[in-house]
Symmetry: C2
Subunit: 459 residues, 2 copies
């Protein structure tokens, strides 16, 4: 734990997106006297990263919707000294100094601090393939990257796009680019999409992609990109096939940004992200970390996990900000709960898949049921598939996956709550859930699945 922050002390926050600005704002709310400096290497703070595909699709029409609070707002309203184009390059946790480079004006500056929060986030993996730096080849994590993609689409005649990687971002962008009228090819190294789901669930999403006219190329390794006319990307070469394309999005995952921490001797955890305790404190007592750059305790495995998500970044940021100025808040851990809309489907999961549970050495079984989002005959009713993963000896719920039409996805929150409460599938089957024909069948799909699981356990 950092020592209680002295009157008028200084908190420095590295990174000004979800975790960083949550930390800075929380610290300010608790301590009006403390000086708070945020070092953000980019030029936007506190934007809605997950909304970027909808901005590119023009579903969310303007940039301002993504950046509700800009640097000026934080300076004026919250007295937070936000410095843009400021990249932290060196940290001395013992001397309590951080050095940053002014990317706009050049030069370096050093700051002393009483406590420092690292919210440096994650960066997209850009594999060192020939042609990966050609104009028209993009990655997507930061708003500036989203804007670059949108400008490219707005300004050029782009008809065919290739998306490398079939995770959430890749598939959300497949939808976004189809919405803009492009022919979209998704190339994936694995034999299936969405590796955070079990393969039998991914299949449902694959059918949706095909129904929506996405060209899906699985088990294909991308080897290179080649320029076309005008010098920007013109071809993707994968599995010896050279396919014409007007743009490429490389979306093969992200890695935690840990250089500053590692360079300062701060311990990384077993996942390679920054290690923190439940108070978000690193191996150096004056340095905390939050968000995509650090680990979190997984409530099912009870081990450190690295699952970068905006929800976690916001929660951890708040806790880090509180503790940096003398608080003692604790983060309750993660189940890795996530959801994405992929065309007409909502795909959500929490906890462990069967694959992950087996990887953990747990004796796991699962059930999978198909039900409906609303009552039979009610307008807009659609299919929903629920898969529950549970431990065979205890009946404990280990995880769940929900894929279906509108209204399906947020049902995963019930499963996440059950995981946090360490419920068995029998406990889950007893829950009194809400029913009315416009929003649910009388047996909620989650209950139908839980009943099946109980039946399977009792067999």
């Amino acid at each position: 734990m950092p020592p209680a922050m002295r009157e008028g002390g200084r908190l420095v926050v590295v990174g000004g997106v979800a975790a960083g600005m949550s930390a800075a704002s929380r610290a300010r709310r608790l301590r009006p006297d403390v000086e708070i400096v945020v070092l953000e290497k980019g030029h936007d703070v506190s934007y809605a990263s997950c909304s970027i595909p909808y901005f590119i699709a023009e579903v969310i029409p303007d940039r301002d919707t993504l950046v509700r609070y800009d640097a000026e707002f934080f300076r004026r309203e919250r007295k937070i000294d936000v410095r843009l184009g400021a990249e932290a390059v060196a940290l001395d946790p013992r001397a309590k100094t951080v050095t940053y480079e002014d990317l706009d004006r050049g030069g370096q500056e050093s700051l002393e601090f009483d406590a420092l929060v690292i919210g440096s986030g994650a960066r997209p993996v850009k594999p060192p393939l020939p042609g990966v730096d050609l104009p028209g080849v993009f990655v997507l994590k930061r708003l500036s990257e989203g804007e670059a993609i949108k400008s490219f689409l707005d300004e050029r005649k782009v008809e065919r796009a290739t998306i490398v990687g079939a995770g959430y971002v890749g598939l959300e962008m497949a939808e976004a680019l189809r919405a803009r009228g492009l022919e979209v090819t998704v190339v994936e190294l694995l034999p299936r999409v969405l590796p955070n789901f079990d393969a039998d669930m991914s299949e449902i999403v694959e059918r949706e992609l095909l129904d929506e006219g996405v060209i899906l190329r699985k088990e294909r390794r991308v080897e290179s990109f080649e320029p076309g006319e005008g010098g920007s990307v013109g071809y993707t070469v994968a599995a010896d096939q050279r396919v014409a394309t007007d743009m490429v999005l490389v979306s093969v995952g992200v890695r935690p940004v840990t250089e500053l921490a590692a360079g300062a001797g701060i311990a990384l955890g077993p996942t390679g992200a920054i290690g923190v305790d439940a108070r978000q404190v690193t191996s150096e007592p004056a340095v905390l970390a939050a968000g995509d750059c650090c680990e979190a305790m997984h409530v099912v495995t009870r081990k450190p996990a690295w699952i970068p998500l905006g929800t976690t970044a916001n929660k951890q940021g708040k806790i880090a900000g509180e503790n940096a100025v003398g608080g003692s808040a604790q983060f309750g851990g993660i189940a890795g709960t996530s959801v994405a809309k992929i065309f007409g489907l909502e795909a959500a999961q929490t906890g462990l898949t069967v694959e992950a549970a087996e990887g953990e050495g747990r004796a796991a079984d699962s059930v999978r049921i198909k039900a409906r989002t609303k009552s039979h005959g009610y307008p807009g009713v659609g299919d929903v598939v629920v898969k529950l993963v549970f431990e065979t000896d205890t009946g404990n719920l280990l995880g769940g996956q929900v894929i279906g039409r509108e209204g399906a996805g947020k049902r995963v929150d019930t499963l996440a709550t059950a995981l946090f409460a360490r419920m068995t599938v029998a406990d889950l089957a007893q829950i009194d859930m809400a029913y009315a024909p416009p929003v649910s069948p009388v047996w909620d799909p989650v209950l139908i699945a839980a009943n099946q699981a109980v039946k399977k356990l009792n067999r």
Copy 2:
């Protein structure tokens, strides 16, 4: 507990709607050898009661959608001897005989049984007001009553309707009748609608009713109905005002049907409904009860409660059916979780309101927050108000109310799960819920409310 059912024994089930047919079906699945007789006084079984307003509104177009499985299906496919027009009139739990009247052909018949499940349901309260039996004055609980209303609307020139009572059914029917183009007046004795919500939450629904052109008359006692031209109802007299109307729905609540049980000396519970244990067994070991006719243990108060809901009827029916043929399943209790769509709003609640908590002598506090159903700027985003009720000394969650636009209502399931797990508001605030712009803000409304509650407790 009833003794283990003998080979080829007989189970009699009284009532063939939700609880009754669930019990019969469950018993059949477990015991192919047992004779199963269902006595249903009406002429429909296993229909979707809660869908009736949507059938009347013509949102669900045909009757068959409500009656997916008819008596013939149960006879043929499940070898269940369903007897229609069969009203059980006398029960001797010691002699193990039940007598029923054949309403269609006349005469009585007696049946011996090894176990009997009472699923006699609830009936609408019809206050003994002058004119309450006039043609055009309806109650609504059974499908036959719904069909009578629909025929009246289809066959007559009905322009103005009066609904007496502003609970879920009254307000769902207000929407249904507005959808059919009627002028709708809702008359309510209390100073507010939806008494299962706190008054500050009901207000949100009242504004919606007014926005949708419903005429709302609160704090008005209906005194009588008077005939108009042609002899059917023409006027409602309330608070000395005589208002012209072409039809009336009296929707002032339901009461458990307990005559058969009480006549047999079976104990009623403190709520006036049939008392049962967690195995759905009544004070007579060979007689079980399930659904709207009986009580259930409330998971928050740990006391018997009577909250008639289709979800509970289905769950209890399943358990009663299992135990009637020798099983030992236990019902986990209720939180009274419910939801209704009222025009553009979804209104949901679980557990105790502030009013109910205070009535229980609990030191309760609450928070109320307004948030959004989806991310800022995402198409279709709407407001949602979440109210949490919690115990001031322990921080335990006692209940929750959620009212908002599409996607709001089922969020109450997370709160119901938290109630079953006996979570505090601090536990709730830690849950890792799913986020994506099309389905949620990054801080789910439930989490925002939980954070507020934690803050209020720590003050």
